[in-house]
Symmetry: C2
Subunit: 336 residues, 2 copies
């Protein structure tokens, strides 16, 4: 089934079931008010949502209405955990190569993962509000899994069973703030502003054979200012599957229901597939010509992230955002 | 007022108002079911909670009962954000000095801060469940602020106005996992397992004159295996106040209601005040004798963190935890 969260003036929005073709939706208010509440009691709630989805897909849902991504918040407008991996190690290697740094061999065996802020996610068509272009504004196209409860020390099989939903992500990054933060060792903080998610979160069975080995076996399409700049295959070159990423996170603690685990920027070794973040393009330019030439995003730029099924139909709906200057953050940025 | 969350079988527990002397409590179920809900709508909810607190403190609350910290979850059993600073720069400098590394001068002007996991907090008397003593188990005594909504680019004055509550923290750390994680640059993940909080969260006015300049002007007491090992003053040597820490976090994004901002390990330059984490003691030993001699925590060890008012009465109640081996995590730790 496909789920979305509709804007209703509350912080957590209202849970809705969305038809497979993304044309209609039905409120799930008689079942669970919010997606987090559904995840908190999934084995009891999910079958009821599935039944509503079946009715909706069969054209038999009583109060269905037109599904409009513009009315969507992120499926989880705020979450208790957002942990983002770097499973496409090719991306990490490129970034390192561009600055003449070797990549430790261990990166092929143990995931890189950072803890992100999860209190204020952006809906699929929400503006990317930021203070300054000098921060080096970039998009990052990713896939993410939403989990149930995973106990500390879980193995990959247990982790796989707890993957409830999948979403697309725009992990907005501020490239010029990253080097100083990573040098401190404490990870990303200011360099990772609010993250955006696709209109729809779907259960893995919606992908059919395209959900295999704990990976989504489809290309992720990135369109920047109307130009398709990348369509790397999310199942290729993903060195760590979602279950493996979850196992890494759960080594020393429980991972609780509603946790979001990101894949990291989708990236293929085959550079002809293009890119889902500008930093990677700039790295390729640096390796080829000694310097990057593609600039980062400017205010007014747009980014669209989408994944299509074999028949060319959008699976998650599109993330479609515009970068906009926030007046208060701009003033504060100048004051610092 | 003082607030606590009582265990009731749900993930978020039940909000209660606690008397100033920590002897009695009253359920706030007629006002707000959970602390997060109160924080989501604070200006409307807080006055009602204050009124109940006044009745309770005056012995006039209708259904009061004995307050028992053992029945407490963390005030926020799960939160949408946990961002922990390192405001006691003395601690950071000691750690660096012990390994013959200079501390960048910028650390005195810009806070170190990491994003922590917030999906599974431990109550004040909950066991510290971990897989292996080889991980280098340590406690870290801290103070934390809980915020309302703080807009991106907020200044210190706005941030100060949004400090709703204060709590004590045991930011459990796995010292032997930290070096490899920090070397990756992506920050703490496995090295920061679940965090524990004091029984009570209190509004800053409960501290009277001890809440000054955005800092708690009282000693934090750490008792390890029954021995008082530290009582550093939380208002001394705190280089960044809570408002300053919040400003740092809010530079590139909104900080939403219920975010928890930590002070970092409380530490004084005056070493006679002792320590609130073992790592600091080991650093002092290394600087003095070339090697640490105090071991990290063993299974069965206990840690108590508490803050007393001028009259010697506990303000937040005590964090009192025992380190216990988790069988499943132990098995997984051996398998890796």
């Amino acid at each position: 089934m496909k789920l979305a969260t509709l804007r209703d003036g509350t912080r957590d929005g209202q849970l809705a079931v969305v038809a497979r073709d993304l044309k209609t939706a039905a409120l799930a208010d008689g079942i669970a008010p919010t997606l987090q509440r559904a995840l908190d009691d999934w084995s009891f709630i999910a079958p009821q949502l599935e039944q509503l989805a079946t009715e909706l897909n069969g054209g038999r849902a009583r109060h269905s209405f037109e599904f409009e991504p513009k009315n969507c918040m992120a499926p989880l407008p705020r979450a208790f955990q957002w942990a983002d991996g770097s499973a496409y190690v090719n991306h990490v290697e490129l970034v390192r190569r561009a600055r003449n740094a070797d990549m430790p061999e261990s990166f092929w065996h143990e995931p890189l993962m950072y803890q992100g802020g999860s209190d204020d996610f952006i809906g699929p068509t929400g503006d990317i509000l930021l203070g300054s272009e000098q921060w080096g504004i970039d998009f990052e196209g990713e896939v993410a899994a939403v989990t149930g409860d995973v106990g500390m020390g879980a193995d990959a099989e247990e982790a796989a069973q707890q993957i409830r939903l999948l979403m697309l992500v725009n992990d907005v990054s501020l490239r010029h703030l990253i080097p100083a933060e990573l040098a401190k060792g404490f990870g990303f903080l200011q360099s990772k502003p609010a993250t955006a998610f696709s209109p729809v979160a779907l259960t893995p069975d919606e992908l059919g054979a395209a959900w295999q080995d704990g990976k989504v076996q489809l290309p992720l399409r990135a369109t920047w200012n109307g130009v398709l700049v990348g369509q790397p295959h999310a199942g290729t070159d993903m060195v760590f599957s979602f279950p493996q990423l979850i196992v890494h996170l759960a080594k020393t603690r429980n991972v609780r229901a509603g946790s979001i685990i990101g894949s990291g920027t989708v990236s293929n070794k085959d550079a002809s597939r293009g890119y889902t973040c500008i930093a990677e393009k700039r790295c390729l330019e640096t390796i080829a010509d000694g310097a990057p030439k593609t600039p980062f995003m400017q205010f007014g730029d747009t980014i669209k992230l989408e994944m299509l099924d074999a028949g060319g139909k959008s699976l998650f709906g599109a993330i479609e955002q515009t970068v906009v200057q926030d007046a208060k953050a701009a003033k504060a940025a100048q004051a610092h």
